[in-house]
Symmetry: D2
Subunit: 148 residues, 4 copies
């Protein structure tokens, strides 16, 4: 579907910290992995190789609400939903569900807003319109799925 | 001061990603480093060894707004300010300033809410009051510093 | 097989650095993931929950030879082979193969030696014999597989 | 000195894993930080901006021997010594010393071999001679320092 993507990951030893739980910064790595899988599911790579104007997707906002910790070897599903589509930016929400709990339980909830940019000489980035071939393939998720 | 702490870090090679900028998840590592330095500045460790009831500080909310990217070897100051103090939780805001820019520029702005917990047998955590010896040493920053 | 295990991973954006390739430290994370999958394939977790004496496996030696870089979205197979089994330690070799190359090419070669330890009061660790139920399930790979 | 450099770091919470000690892969991040500081101490950046031919330094070999674990908030000195200088490669050894132990104790010992490369169109790298202005500033450490 052009507004949803799911990945499943097992929490690795190197994802944990001395509190015995997944380090809170790693939830953001997992969100990004879902985002990049979403792009692949649409036939693109987040690192544009196969479209005319190469674009990048720096983050302008990221957040996460943590409800329950994840532990080593927990299996977690990360569901990405497109929550907003603008001419130059996309917003996603992410639901983290612990699959090896019965019943399956939502352990965290994230949000990400990314802006489409082109790179100029050197490292300077400028916001630009999302390339049409990408924008055409992405929809906003239905309100009931977004929990609105 | 009991409501503020600053660290300065140089962005390392392993903090960057293939976009040539600091990976967005690492801003959360830097926030935590400032938080733990704040605790040391008060005479504590975030890993309680020297108080009667050992407590932990899991995150319940984390967010970051990114305004400008950080690059390899940039010097960044992370300023922590206590924005809220409740019986069982603390909230912080963080200002990231790139020191090797002239003028110095704020590149990111973060927030963190942490809850004080005790650990029971196994891995179960329960929210508890912030130990008095810690709570007594922490103030909320003046509104003008918080930008309210 | 009691001397071999394979995992396949896709290189993630957060695994890369500003050189555009997987950061060299992440090969060690991937080795560990293969090691822990190997233990699960034998019916154990590297974090012993289901055997009588809980043991840990700190690393005493780790190394990696890098032949070719890995890039974002490369699919890499990590093959673990048990190269040595002693009463208190295990050694593994690891072959990293880039699957999305034709022909498939070995891009890195790693080694790991881990020691079996028990934890005493606090953080002190002491080397101990590998528990029989684990040792009995692990064989050393044939010399020809190890390339000896 | 043109063959030695030292950094001091405090082990951070995000450097630790659920075993309560610094994750073994992070010793390689610390080695790299010392390497890059060494280059800055010579007036260069590892990311060549200020020399004629931009070069990179991919790793071809990395290893570490772990003698004692590092814990959260430990202060560790990482000493880099140049152990070999060839026309296209450099080798370093690293000594990790825990400063908050009395007496100070060596907790790990690392090695790194890096090759000087130029980047061609795309991502292809070729080994090249170390630029003269860099090579001229680097010496091999005396044998007694290297422990040979």
């Amino acid at each position: 579907m052009p507004y949803e993507f799911k990945i499943v990951r097992r929490v690795e030893f190197s994802d944990t910290d001395m509190a015995g739980i997944m380090h809170y910064s790693n939830f953001f790595r997992f969100m990004e992995t879902a985002e990049h899988g979403f792009f692949r599911s649409l036939g693109f790579s987040i690192v544009t190789r196969n479209i005319e104007t190469p674009v990048g997707w720096p983050r302008v906002h990221a957040e996460c609400d943590y409800k329950q910790p994840l532990h080593f070897e927990d299996e977690v599903e990360v569901q990405l939903l497109v929550s907003e589509k603008r001419s130059k930016s996309l917003s996603y929400i992410f639901r983290f569900r612990k699959l090896n709990a019965s019943p399956v339980v939502e352990v965290a909830h994230g949000k990400l807003t990314v802006v489409c940019v082109t790179h100029h000489a050197g490292t300077k980035m400028t916001a630009c319109n999302i390339p049409k071939e990408i924008a055409d393939k992405i929809d906003v998720a239905p309100k009931e799925l977004l929990g609105l």
